[in-house]
Amino acid sequence: MIAHLPVLQVIVPLMAAPICLILKRAQLAWLFSLLVSSLTLLISILLLQQVMTSGVVSYELGGWQAPWGIEYRIDKLNAFLLLIISAISTIVLFAAQTSIEKEIDKNKHTLFYVLYLLSLTGMLGIVATGDAFNVFVFLEIASLSTYALIAMGEDRRALWASYQYLVMGTIGATFILIGVGLMYQMTGTLNMQDLSQRLPEVAQTRTVFTAFAFVIVGVCLKLALFPLHHWLPNAYAYAPSIVTAFFAATATKVAMYLLIRLTFSVFGLSFSFTTIPLQTLFMALGLFGIFVASTSAIYQNNIKHLFAYSSIAQIGYMIVGFSISTVTGLTATLLHVFNHALMKCAIFLALAAVVYRLGDVQLNNFHGLGRQMPLTMAAIVVGGLSLIGMPLTVGFVSKWYLLTALLEQGWWPVAVLILFAAILAVIYVWRIIEVAYFKEPLVNQAAVKEAPMLFLVPIWALTIANIYFGIDTRLSVQVAQAAAQSLFGVTP
């Protein structure tokens, strides 16, 4: 059993998805999905333990040897990501049944779980696999189910958002496919490990440059890196709330993983950052992203839009950490991947609870909500403080590492800009706090009560984790640092 963990991680939710269809009853499908998701969480914990103690786990699919067959290769980096994805998925599923009751037609509930498990499969697959073409296949499994999930939103704009995401997503995925094809043409292999050994020999050819450009642009489309982010705000805002909570915490993280994997492991550090001026480019795009998206967030009246723009800004922080291309910088990025998943998932789950009670997340409906739904709003406030980077929250930890990495390199102007950007975050978080705590409740909302327990438990589990990992950083920092060091080939 233990030997098959890498493949079980992906196969279990894949097999479970059609079983949901047979179960038919939504309640049953929910419990079953919850069970399956917990199982993937368990597997990912076991995998992380195994990787941390005994190093890389390699699994040959169907017993075919590595460069020819498909290899699942779990190192510290993807074990960490697998843990984040499966944990978030499990936590989100707790609230799923209650949330979709109000937002999705009754006859589509079972289908919702099918799609949910499929997209979970896709994301876990992208992270687990060590084969470049397999990445494309899983990417499409994840994306296609995502498009369908987004289209389930109540508002008709969900359809339009889903269509736009489909067009952008397909272009992105096809770009990755072209890049993989060009790499295969030059090296004759699809295995990432093998590619990393063979690419340096042909690194100076135009074909490899083109391949690099195609895959990076493709991944950045999926990542919603500024200026390729236009699909994201509407997709997040009009998808069913529970779907947003899941994707905001996982989808862009998977793309971030892919970017790190491709640049560091496949193409190699010296090619990505020396031959190609990726550093300057990403640093600039990251900073632009932070400022443009944070400023846009300030002007949003739909709170889901607001936090969607904030997500784009947070991707900017990850990219800045990534572009420093030192161990500390990458540690900061990986920490932020973990921390941002915690805070955004808590915030969007809390918003799902607000939708459950109010049916809407327009800012002017938030009047006095701090008194009517104190626990839910408190979670949003903690999440917001974490986005700003207040001490004692996880947001502070990743900002701290990011600033350390920048100062190590002597890039203090960038560090100043990053600190300044926190002020923008203060402004958009304050807008919500002001309305929710310092305004009288609206007359027609006098009967609004606190969210049901099935919401509060996952929201507060995440919020407590948010504070816990802000104080006791041993686990997250240790894993992130180990993963970053292994990518740089430094033995700890």
């Binding site: 498009y147 359809l159 889903s162 489909l166 397909t170 072209i178």
Partner: protein, 126 residues
């Protein structure tokens, strides 16, 4: 040089035509046509890559010594399936968009969305 890369020229031309249609056309169905064209160009790219000069189909038989690389064929079969799924999903989305908005023109859909926001603002001011 030019003729030797004939397939690549076709691939690039199809790719650019496809992308152009996706960007320039406002009709949602036409966009899907463009997207499909764009994906198809990549299929041709993979298949041309697999060709070995003088090689035949990769069949295990005594008199076949030189054959085309079968791996890209296998890969692209998967990619074709993915593309079909994407097209089917996109078309079904268009059907639902038509039902919800009464139009499949990008401009019209965006106009209707903006209309709602403008109405809301007016009501607020009133």
């Amino acid at each position: 040089m030019l003729i030797g890369l004939f397939n690549n020229w076709i691939v690039v031309m199809l790719m650019m035509i496809g992308l152009y249609i996706v960007i320039a056309h406002g009709n949602l169905i036409k966009k899907i046509v463009g997207l499909t064209l764009f994906q198809t160009s990549v299929f041709i790219f993979y298949i041309s890559m697999a060709k070995v000069v003088g090689g035949t189909a990769p069949i295990l038989a005594d008199d076949i010594i030189q054959y085309s690389n079968p791996l890209p064929h296998a890969l692209i079969l998967t990619a074709i399936v993915v593309a079909i799924a994407t097209t089917a999903l996109a078309l079904s989305l268009v059907i639902r968009i038509k039902a919800a908005y009464g139009s499949i023109e990008e401009e019209e859909i965006q106009r209707q969305d903006n209309q709602i926001q403008a109405d809301k603002k007016e009501r607020k001011q009133a």
